[in-house]
């Protein structure tokens, strides 16, 4: 069994007006199928990338894999456990949360502006009760900062004292704090400048190798995805239209939508 199995995952959103408005104006219910019977697997230590345009449902899938949103039907199984399993004990639930972490798109909104960096990174360690002694916690925070290329000096600073790329490193350090096994990266570099994006992508690769992390990587940028993924799923309006390795996808795209995406992506080479 794969480390992550996404099975017939479906999510509907009810966009209808309130009942009373519908009755008066005679409108019907409006149901949006954001994610429609999506299946994929991720092997341990590998990166699965979901690519799609706005409204393709990629962020909705990310939220369901992260256990932040209930699927309407279907399931996400991570290491034989399911967030939405009603029989899951509290301890197993906590263990699953600890294993599953997320790195977000916005380097500005993903760190609490009123918290010091040290506390931000220490929060998961405390919440999961990983280290009890405060001195040891402090040492662990420094270790995490160093792993993402920051230093002990930064521990007492606030998020606004850092650049976008550094904040994204802090987010990664926080995600690593709970010693996760899978990290969901939701457009982690789309708000960053090119030279900083390369730094963050390389850091993610190094960390994957060092800690044998599994990534679910969400992006709209085919070029970024091609440098990160072992497998790529192309999403269109909630449906997974094509699934392949980067080589196959870029050499022999099967679906028209994939071909269109490849043709439309601006590249440096045409010049």
């Amino acid at each position: 069994m794969s480390f992550v199995t996404v099975n017939q995952l479906t999510r509907l959103f009810d966009l209808s007006e309130p009942w009373i408005v519908r009755t008066i104006t005679g409108q019907k219910k409006r149901i949006l199928t954001a994610v429609d019977c999506v299946n994929f697997q991720i092997e341990k230590g590998e990166t699965y990338a979901l690519v799609g345009e706005s409204g393709s449902g990629k962020s909705t899938i990310a939220k369901m894999v992260a256990g932040l949103l209930m699927p309407t039907s279907g399931s996400v199984i991570i290491d034989n456990k399911n967030f939405n399993d009603a029989n899951l004990e509290k301890a197993s639930m906590n263990a699953l949360r600890r294993k599953t972490q997320m790195v977000f798109q916005s380097p500005y909104a993903s760190l609490n502006p009123r918290w010091k960096i040290g506390n931000i990174i220490n929060e998961p360690i405390k919440a999961f009760g990983l280290i009890k002694d405060e001195n040891d916690q402090h040492k662990r925070v420094i270790e995490l900062l160093e792993q993402v290329g920051l230093s002990e000096r930064d521990i007492k600073k606030y998020p606004h004292e850092f650049s976008g790329g550094q904040r994204q490193r802090i987010s990664i350090a926080r995600a690593l704090a709970s010693e996760p096994e899978i990290i969901i990266c939701d457009e982690p570099t789309s708000a960053l400048d090119v030279s900083v994006q390369a730094q963050v992508l390389n850091l993610l690769k190094d960390l994957q190798k060092n800690f044998s992390l599994t990534y679910l990587f969400i992006s709209h940028d085919l070029a970024v995805i091609s440098t990160m993924a072992n497998n790529i799923g192309v999403l269109k309006e909630g449906v997974l239209v094509e699934q392949a390795t980067p080589n196959d996808l870029f050499h022999k795209p099967q679906h028209d939508y994939t071909k269109m995406l490849l043709a439309a992506a601006p590249t440096l080479q045409n010049n």
Partner: protein
């Protein structure tokens, strides 16, 4: 295009432009001694990371610099006439603007027809019927069904709205359009359409465009010439293909190399990375602003700011002929 630009009179000339920021008792420089020419009918790209001063340059041309920012030095002239002193009348009719968010330029309470007609009638002394005809023509030029002239902006999708904005920008028949990240908010497929549309319209009408973007791919596919900005300074300028394929400034080279590409040979390899980040404008180092991140930096780079050599690159490595990367 293979025209030798230097033989033609520039349409828009920016000379030694500096834009400064006064905060408390400190003055920092956001755009630093920038000189640029825009020639008729070309698309000039302004590329750089956030805070490099590219949008600020666009705002300066449009006369949109507001306190605490101010133009501290330099001139901007359009067809030989300075537009820093009297920007108002020239700006509306000669220079148009396209922003990243189409909703900034559209009035949500008026139909797109009303907005187009009003813009046309402000600039041309023609009847309402004629203005309506022109509006419909503009809409069909940007690929919108003229029948939709009575529709309100919110009924259009993001890409269609940006088309409406382009129609509005073209309405005064300007000689220059400044497009500030016009496709950043759009999906890739729509982005390609909008960029092609811009390109095609400008070729047809002979309009010049300054395209401000952070995306090297967009620069590569759209522009004729490109100017690379770093910390408010021009580091390299030239024909797009030259600059991207044979970059002479280490920063340009780094930008090109760190841009991920759909290139099977690069799959699963690490990207090239420039260490560090661009300095804040109140903390720009002496000498060449890039030297702390530059692997070729020498003593001279730390002390003296390089001029623009060969009208192409601002780097001491290019001081003598033959001194390459």
């Amino acid at each position: 295009m293979t025209i030798d630009r230097t033989m033609i009179e520039p349409l828009l000339e920016i000379k030694n432009l500096s834009v400064s920021l006064k905060k408390r008792d400190n003055i920092s420089v956001a755009v630093d001694d920038l000189s640029l020419n825009l020639y008729p009918g070309e698309i000039l790209g302004l590329v750089g990371e956030s805070g490099a001063g590219k949008s600020m340059t666009g705002s300066a041309i449009l006369g949109l610099i507001e306190s605490p920012l101010y133009i501290s030095a330099g001139t901007i002239s359009l067809q030989g006439r300075s537009i820093i002193e009297a920007p108002e009348n020239i700006r509306g009719s000669q220079i148009s603007m396209i922003f990243q968010d189409p909703l900034v330029s559209l009035n949500p309470l008026k139909t797109i027809g009303e907005q187009l007609i009003k813009t046309i009638k402000t600039h041309f002394n023609i009847s309402k019927a004629e203005a309506l005809d022109r509006s419909k023509k503009l809409l069909s030029d940007v690929g919108i069904d003229p029948e939709r002239i009575e529709a309100y902006p919110h009924t259009f999708s993001g890409g269609m709205r940006q088309r409406v904005v382009i129609a509005l920008a073209l309405a005064p028949e300007p000689s220059v359009i400044i497009a500030d990240e016009p496709t950043t908010a759009l999906d890739v497929s729509v982005q390609a359409q909008i960029l092609n549309l811009l390109k095609q319209l400008c070729t047809e009408r002979g309009t010049s465009i300054i395209l401000i973007t952070h995306d090297m791919g967009v620069i590569s596919e759209t522009t004729d010439r490109v100017a690379v900005l770093y910390s408010g300074r021009l580091v390299e300028i030239g024909k797009t293909s030259d600059v991207l394929q044979r970059p002479q400034h280490p920063y340009t080279a780094g930008l090109v190399a760190s841009t991920p590409n759909i290139d099977p040979s690069s799959f699963d390899k690490k990207l090239f990375q420039i260490p560090g980040a661009m300095p804040d404008i109140d903390d720009v180092p002496d000498g060449c602003a890039f030297h702390p991140r530059c692997e070729h930096a020498r003593d001279k780079c730390q002390k003296h700011r390089p001029p623009l050599f060969d009208a192409r690159v601002s780097c001491w490595l290019s001081e003598k002929p033959g001194g390459t990367l």
